[in-house]
Symmetry: C2
Subunit: 351 residues, 2 copies
Amino acid sequence: MVTLKDVAELAGVAPITVSRVINYPQSVKERTRLKVERAIKQLNYSPNNIARSLVTNRTNIIGVLLSNIANPYFSEFILGVETKARKLGKSIIICNAMDYESAKSNVNLLLEQRVDGMIFTSLEFDSIALQEQLFRELEEINENRKHTVPIVLVDPFPRQTLLPSILIDNYMAGSLAMEHLHELGHEVIAHLNLNRDANVWIDRFRAYRDAQAKKGIQLNTGHIALIDKEDVRVAEEAAYSLLRADPRPTAIFAANDLLAVGALQAAHRMKIKIPEELSIIGIDGNDIAKHSYPRMTTVAHPRYQLGELSAELLIDLINGKEDVARQMVNCTLQVNESTGPVLIQPEGIHE
Amino acid sequence: MVTLKDVAELAGVAPITVSRVINYPQSVKERTRLKVERAIKQLNYSPNNIARSLVTNRTNIIGVLLSNIANPYFSEFILGVETKARKLGKSIIICNAMDYESAKSNVNLLLEQRVDGMIFTSLEFDSIALQEQLFRELEEINENRKHTVPIVLVDPFPRQTLLPSILIDNYMAGSLAMEHLHELGHEVIAHLNLNRDANVWIDRFRAYRDAQAKKGIQLNTGHIALIDKEDVRVAEEAAYSLLRADPRPTAIFAANDLLAVGALQAAHRMKIKIPEELSIIGIDGNDIAKHSYPRMTTVAHPRYQLGELSAELLIDLINGKEDVARQMVNCTLQVNESTGPVLIQPEGIHE
């Protein structure tokens, strides 16, 4: 194995000079620096990370843990993290966490890799309980390693965590969707959501319930479908039953864009015209909304900006900033083609 | 900083025993192992990776470099890599490579992290030349570090690389798409592709040209659109011009599912019935094909299996296997709802 000493010998400099070239290149005369860099290249020397981090106490690497890389929701988020991190001189490595066990083992992996800090986003396991367990463990890491391995959590996490967090207001996102439908004159609004024990889904459901209550519209269980799998076909099946309810809803508020696309497919197959006979709205602002026909009206999360924000917050923490407030990020309504005013008021609405 | 010695002291064992627990846990009596593990936990000791790798010469980490994590194409691939890697006792860390510079810096990052091996997939930069430059550099790494940092390339790479590769037969994928359209009776087939200097696009175009030539159908440049951006709206715009060509095509072969969705949206807006008046076929088998209405006929890449295969191949290389042949993976036609027989033969086809 090539050592720093070998490089120093070949370059004809002291080992400390090699170390300086690696860690503080700007502190070394250019001629010397070039000599050392040539020797590093020639010997194919890869600086020992740990040795380097003992000097600078930094690896300049940020770890990002995602619950499921297969979810397109994360793509733009990662781009935001990476772009901002690069600007601030950090690289990122990404780990996937399919479940609680793999999240734990990947947290250890990132710690072993001596990352400067970690970002966790949307770790949605089977239950809030498992989520909370991981966060208690993360809080311990954060406590023990204060100033060395800061952690930033990004939506949707239990609100009671002590860790620095960036939250999305899912209740507000749902409220925006409902407000849009109400403004278009809809009252018989169906709701399609996931039957899952996580705040993100519960908050969107609460927004639906409260908005209808505020309008004085009684909840009709025939207008609510909770499905077990985040899948377009399962959503489509559930939407058929919503669209066969009496009275037939004039609008569907789906808890995310994927479910909204399922509803759209059901409507297409039932020859229901969008938006003339039925309005559909989702949440997220994924590409999936852009790719649907008609283009889906949605409440978009600022995912790229969320990524930038969390990288910024984390790097502040790494640099020793202490008074980091919890941040809440707002969503915005994106009106596209899948929603419109009520044209045909179904019968029996105020029976 | 907590050292291995601290752990040994607290556990009341020799430092070598701690090292053994970390590296060869099965070689240590359970009682001792538990004692050491408790001490590790209590002190929050994170084993020094490099020290460990000096003993086992392994970090058990595989690095995966993607060209753009925002492309949903990679999601299933990563799941395949991760699932297989986990089964074989490896973790994975993922890096993004938006361009040649970031690819290079992330390769160095992975090497510094002492990964056991690396998988590179679909690094599509601005030109084949830049791609080839990176691969020459990778070949050097592979040469210098034989047996320590093996590399596996996954589609779509320059064919002339010496590195172990898993390739997708893009020409065959295109041929399958064209064969399907020909079997349905289509002859006036338009082609929508990207104007980009990479084999993946060129091979799919070649498949189109050759299939039409074999049928004795002359190329009509009015039936070919090459766009500059992989974007649904840009594809939609290009599709309008294809659908206004004389004779109007009865089918569009799009070089991937994203472009196919653009064509589908153009058809919807022109009130052209799919598949009665127009068949559309894509390539990839992304979720995007499943989410479209009607569901898109496509030629699917076995992405999950590709992921598994590349993890397997890489781990074989890490374990010292030498005679690794280049592997070619086949695609499969998935007939869905967007293609059908020619019902109305446009006029002037055999003029």
